[in-house]
Amino acid sequence: MYEGILQDLIDELGKLPGVGPKMAQRIAVHILQSDPETPKKLAELLLILQDRVNFCEMCGTVSEEAQCRICRDPRRDVSQICVVEESKDVIAIERSREFNGRYHVLGGSINPSQDIGPGQLRIKELITRLQDGAVQEVIIATDPDMEGEATSTYLARHLGPLGVTVSRIATGLQMGGDLEYADEVTIGRALSGRRIISQGGIS
């Protein structure tokens, strides 16, 4: 056990997701021994991060502007919205280059054990986006686990009656998996093999 500032830093780093005590120690000692520019740059970014980086008012993904790069891009197809759980899923799907529509980030999935119901997710915002009739298809790309499936079922039931086609990406993705860790080819296949779970206009 170190003491003072170094140990404080190790403790703080250890609270981060995916960082165990050993990893925290390695990072802290590495920073201690590195070129002074490294911690300086890191500290500057940490300080401004929350002020400068926000969430896109349209889709909810991480963005420095009021609207993200994708929502601002006129070349993107406005007739398709791909619904994901987190911003990191947007990045995963973008990497596959298989999708040219826009996104909608829910901010999680329906998870009763963690007390997350539909009301805590950005579903109202999604419904608002469907009002002008430009969107033809909503592609649900929540994680292929139990909570993601439940969320998908919920969305299909509530969006279908609004007149849009609702489809679910194919589960070439392993059940219980996480979209973030799927490779580009798998994501591409899951998107192109999506199945319609609620046909638009039939309610």
Binding site: P112, S113, P118, M146, A150, T153, Y154, R157, M175
Partner: protein, 374 residues
């Protein structure tokens, strides 16, 4: 098949132990608490990801340690397969096959097949319905490894749905009802798959259990097993879709009582494997001897099913401290089974407990140290 090597790291009482086993009979002698049962428990774990002694993983890890590891070398006809399992309580297991990490630990299931006979088996007959559900689920997992995923999905779904019912208590607004609707869909989907596999298992076991019971007891009355469900499935060709739609209807009908009580009342978690002798339930009516015969009959029928479906030879038989519990007739029946099996691992407190016919490699287990007697 047979196991040629077994290593435990931070498992139960062991820091580290490595044992070389032989085909045929392997006998481990040690008084209680010396660690002989821990050895077969580890082996069993690699076959089913479940212990025959405890229902959680925590006790498997040596005190003050974070994780435990088990390595088993399985010899199947002409191939050697090394299985590694890392057990970290509260986290998903990690597994390797021949040194390569598997994306899902449960892909390891189905390679090592084993059937354990132990004093705990009596609970299969005398214990709660949950014991018999565990027996069915563990059996299916060995027969159809993908069932491990089906079972995990159902349990997760049940947990989520119960959490929702609890939090919904007293506030039955539309939002809650709609959320419950989608969890009904998930529960029916996963629960139907669980039920379907259990019904099929019981169907396949019925004849075998009845034969095995006649064989191990002098009783001329047949032992009858049946799957008793809280769900009334309509007559006709059994299918997952049929169970699913029946379960959805039952969930809708029971919704109000579920909301009142805050738990899921419909599903395979409330079903039972019923054992009947002379038209009476074995649990509560059978004598001690009859109960043992029933327990053995269940395990023997599992052995038979595994043997029939196995592509890698006979399942490994594990007789964990069981001879001291049995009378002469039932001992004889187990000995007959062992004589023709590819590999059997026997544990006993003292050498006198092991029937003389079971001669093979002999190991002493004293205070967590295993020594082969040459």
């Amino acid at each position: 098949m047979y196991v040629s090597g077994l290593s435990l790291l931070r498992f139960r009482s062991y820091d580290y132990v490595n044992i070389k086993l032989v085909p045929g009979i392997n006998v481990f002698i040690g008084t209680n608490g010396q660690g002989k049962t821990n050895l077969v428990e580890a082996l069993n774990y690699c076959a089913s990801f479940s212990s025959h002694r405890v229902s959680s993983d925590q006790p498997l890890v040596k005190q003050d340690e974070i994780n435990a590891a088990v390595q088993v070398v399985v010899e199947q006809e002409s191939r050697t397969i090394t299985l590694d399992v890392e057990i970290t309580p509260g986290k998903a297991n990690k597994a390797k096959q021949n040194g390569s990490p598997l994306p899902k630990a449960r892909e390891l299931l189905g390679i090592l097949l084993s059937v354990t006979f132990a004093p705990e088996d009596l609970m299969l007959v005398k214990g709660d319905p949950s014991e018999r559900r565990k027996f069915m689920d563990d059996s299916i997992t060995q027969l159809i490894p993908s069932y491990a995923g089906v079972r995990a999905d159902f349990e997760k779904c049940l947990k989520q749905r119960n959490a929702l019912l609890k939090s919904a208590y007293g506030k039955t607004n539309a939002d809650v009802m709609h959320t419950l609707d989608v969890w009904d869909v998930q529960l029916a989907k996963t629960g139907a798959a669980v039920m379907y596999h259990r019904l099929k298992l019981v169907e396949n076991m019925q004849g075998l259990v009845s034969d095995a019971y006649k064989n191990v007891s002098d009783d001329q009355h047949p032992l009858e097993i049946s799957y008793v469900s809280n769900l009334e499935i309509p007559e006709g060709e059994l299918s997952i879709a049929l169970i699913e739609s029946t379960m959805l209807q039952a969930l809708a009908a029971k919704r109000n009582s579920e909301l009142d009580r805050g738990v899921t009342l419909v599903g395979p978690h409330r079903d039972e494997l019923q054992l009947m002798l002379r038209n009476l339930p074995v649990r509560g009516y059978a004598s001690h001897g009859e109960s043992w015969s029933c327990a053995l009959a269940l395990k023997l029928s599992l052995y038979e099913l595994l043997k029939r479906s196995s592509r890698g030879g006979d399942p490994v038989l594990i007789l964990d401290d069981v001879f001291a519990e049995l009378d002469e007739i039932r001992r004889r029946k187990l000995v007959d089974l062992v004589k023709n099996n590819e590999q059997t691992i026997v544990t006993a407190a003292v050498a006198q407990d092991v029937p003389v016919e079971l001669e093979g490699a002999l190991f002493n287990v004293v205070d967590g140290t295993v020594t082969k007697v040459e």
